[in-house]
Amino acid sequence: MAIDKDTVRKVARLARIAEPEERLEPLATEISGILGWIEQLNEVDVEGVEAMASTVDVSLPMREDKLQQGDTGGGQSDNVVANAPKTEDHFFVVPKVVE
């Protein structure tokens, strides 16, 4: 299915990527080309086939419900904010969200 400029604008908004007005038309053409090629999947009969999200056939492991130590545990607030562009104490600083 071909997608138009307005759809690209909407999708870019959903993806939180600022696309300048003059890029919308070329993007619509490029993405329509790719989607057109993808649409050959409609030739495949998928009636009754289950959707596959992962090739790993195991149930997700459970762990004991207690605070972990190390990289994936608690007490990492210095590390969590270490690479942020703007922080204060252990908070990420962003433009005002609530008036």
Partner: protein, 492 residues
Amino acid sequence: MTDISNLSLAELRDGLKEKKVSAGEATNAYLSRLEAAKELNAVITLTADKARDMAKASDARLAKGEGGALEGVPLGIKDLFCTEGTLTTAGSHILDGFTPRYESTVTENLWRDGAVMLGKLNMDEFAMGSSNETSFYGPVVNPWRRKGDTTPLTPGGSSGGSAASVAAHLCAAATATDTGGSIRQPASLTATVGVKPTYGRCSRWGVVAFASSLDQAGPIARDTRDAAIMLKSMAGHDPKDSTSIDCPVPDYEAALGQSVKGLKIGVPKEYRLDNMPAEIETLWQQGISWMKDAGCEIVDISLPLTKYALPVYYIVAPAEASSNLARYDGVKFGHRAKDFDDITSMYENSRAEGFGDEVKRRILIGTYVLSAGYYDAYYLRAQKVRKKIFDEFAEAYKKVDLILTPSAPSAAFGLGEKSDDPVQMYLNDVFTVTANLAGLPGASVPAGLDAQGLPLGLQLLARPFDEETMFKGMYALEQAAGFSARPDEWWA
């Protein structure tokens, strides 16, 4: 002792153990080669000081007769692996300045075994590309050139920096990752050995995520033995990755040289493309003869859904990427735009400035196929076709032990030659992407040169978690091919 950089990883490992060479000498030899090879643009961050410190520690351990399986061996690390205290960019502007406070499990395993880090290697941005041209740091140049021609060629992608630096002997071996062919296609284009293990074999923890159900780490090395040694250290169960599989890691090196007599090798007719260069078809036939001569039984098989694998991939991978890359928002790490009016425009401008064109294109496609009204038509359908492709391989592996195909549909091409048409670029992965969708192990082994003097590889695919049989087959192929060509060192 001969030039240290000409030793294979296995030879260097043995030389270090026997104290014929020190880790310091090996590290300095590679650092000077890396310094001299700037024209290849294979490195994003050189970590010379860290390398010398690690080598010193290795030499101390070796002096005491201690040391791990890779003690003192200098390696290149694809810049997709988080390395504690060392800039990690994923080839993207949006990760400017990102210095992880933790180490990926795969690199941690390599350091546990005594390896030395030389630097972080260039790659396509977020591993999205087949020519290294999407890197914010510019394309890597293939050490190989066409005979009598100085046109710069691509080393393939996304692990182009890994493949080029192994081919040019800038490191003993390198880590890489493969989501649709990013280990095997560059290996084929640079005459290196690339191994993508079974999904779940290597931990994804600390590897910058692209498409989580397809991403898998593996080595690029000079030969099959070196790749076997690397994978043994990289692999293993990790509780920090819930899709990491808890099963023993065999000694892959021990499988090398074991007889392949009686192995059934599948040859899928659908991997014969209409516009494929005749030389690739000829090489494939040659590979079939080699395996037959080694005592294998050749079985013609059919994998009719092959042509749908790339379209499935270009729904599943962008969908997962659009979700994974939502974390780059100018808040938690990396680049934040200077100009914005509110929080939404801060997100939008940071992402617009930070991502390159191919990454943006894939995020938009992923967002579109997951959006209300299109989810069933695209994403759900793709997941169902993926299941059928998975089943088709499972059926084939009831009849055969390994599958032999070409690795890539062409030899290395010129930088800029295919960058205008995304779909043409995507077709580079036509032979490799099926293994990612089905979670299978796959490897590329250098098998010959084309008329222009460029390397071509052959691919072996195996059953899930049967990398041992794959290594047996790779070694047999390597022995038969006797490939020994090296690129001229025009960059030095």
